[in-house]
Symmetry: C2
DNA sequence: CTGTCGGTATCGTATGACTTTATCGCAGAT
DNA sequence: ATCTGCGATAAAGTCATACGATACCGACAG
């Protein structure tokens, strides 16, 4: 699955060699090609699979270790860690998921988390926003209505809208969850391949109502409307997920 | 500030040399000793400050890069990244905060996030819990009442109680936020140095009420009671934070 | 069958050399 | 004098090699 990635700048540098190795390994892990067993022996991997020095390989492994994907111990080897010790909220880990087949349960989990966090964030944004915050949110909204549906500029504006709201909440930990929101938005746009006009109009209206509540400084209203937005987004995404599931039939045991 | 750390197993291995270097650098960054400027030049750092090989140093830097704390670029050097690109929700990053002076704004942010997430998680736990989940939650509660206040076993039971609830919600992304909940609990226990009996009784009662709602499978009730628990915890923590602030007078400009 | 012991494979650390990259300053042109 | 471009340079990136530390595993003795 090859996808354009509109993610926020992540910490991984794909220009560097170790970054490419890290990405390659990470995708193999996340897509389940290697389970919770052992990775390829260092030597064999180095020589045969990818021609890269031990330094680059080790730094890639350290990178993955920091994100909880692998655990390296002397003698026993470098093993893939169990999934519940992965940092699923890490921007890189989230973006690597786009390289693997869609995991319906995981996407549902992400939306669920988002439905807990983003309405509350919208409430705070309505109460705490500065003029600069509001301008940024409005800029995002206008970027959505001034560009054609599903254009790259539109998607970026959508992401910017939600990020601006999280920023307006004035809570540093909420901003770390921006990557979760971005991921859900990208999944939803990715799954519905652009052949629906009705959903798009609904989404636009949802955004307008949230913006309106934030302008009014009405926290409860903003929360309720953001909640509706997320719910709508989830429902359409689930619809398309079901379709994709029927097409691909990726039977999940 | 030296503190016992009851955190979940993090990805950093303090037994290894690179891990010690990473921790040392991370604490210096988080506590603000080095701002957003440049780190010590590789060479000078290697030779003088810490006597360690380039390998270990580089792997430590890669580790921090993965968590967004630093950005390394050829020629310009390895710089400390701006705070809003740090992975504040990473278990290691959270635990490193305990080595620095308490940052009141950050602790408030953590509690705020927790107040958004944990009540919703309690709701899901009430609806989705398996028998094993419930047993785990109950085990945590009994560990709290069967041990003396503020004993290590009690603290561990408290953490286990909340982690079990997050696990019972059957959402993998919520489990990643367990480190946030742990961090807030540890901050609150750390700040009130054990000389309060009233708060403790209140806290115990809050826990009992949450457990009761989960047993009844009443989602709304569980959410409301968890919300009350978090609010109570935040209030007492803020009280002690104010005291500590007066004592230490760590004037924040 | 059990327990100790050594071999061995793998990760951890150290070192030195070379490559790539991006910044900065100098020189030349406009 | 300002702008443009090119090269010197410094720092990270990569490679190769060597040795130390560790824990698994099989063999051997009790």
């Amino acid at each position: 699955m090859r996808v354009r990635d509109f993610s926020r700048p992540t910490t991984l540098n794909p220009d560097r060699l170790f970054g490419q190795v890290a990405q390659k390994l990470a995708v193999a892990i996340i897509s389940g090609i290697v389970k919770a067993g052992e990775l390829l022996p260092n030597e064999a991997d180095l020589k045969s699979e990818i021609s890269v020095s031990r330094t680059a390989y080790r730094e890639a492994v350290k990178f993955l270790t920091a994100k909880g994907l692998v655990e390296a111990r002397p003698k026993s080897g470098t093993r893939v860690a169990p999934r519940d010790s992965w940092n699923l909220l890490d921007p890189d880990v989230l973006s690597w998921h786009f390289e693997a087949d869609p995991n319906e349960k995981f996407i549902r989990d992400l939306f669920e988390l988002r439905s807990f966090v983003e309405p509350s964030a919208a409430r705070l944004a309505a109460l705490r926003r500065t003029p600069a915050d509001l301008a940024r949110i409005q800029a995002g909204y206008h970027g959505m209505i001034d560009n054609p549906p599903y254009a790259e500029a539109t998607i970026r504006a959508d992401l910017a809208f939600h990020e601006a709201i999280l920023a307006a909440a004035q809570n540093s930990t909420l901003q770390c969850l921006a990557s979760v929101v971005s991921a859900t938005i990208q999944w939803s746009l990715l799954l519905k391949s652009g052949d629906d006009q009705g959903f798009y109009v609904t989404s636009l209206f949802d955004h307008e109502r949230v913006l309106d509540a934030i302008i009014q400084r009405d926290g409860d209203l903003a929360a309720a409307r953001m909640s509706a937005l997320v719910t709508d987004s989830l429902n359409t995404t689930l619809t398309f997920l079901a379709w994709a599931g029927q097409r691909n039939a990726p039977k999940i045991a």
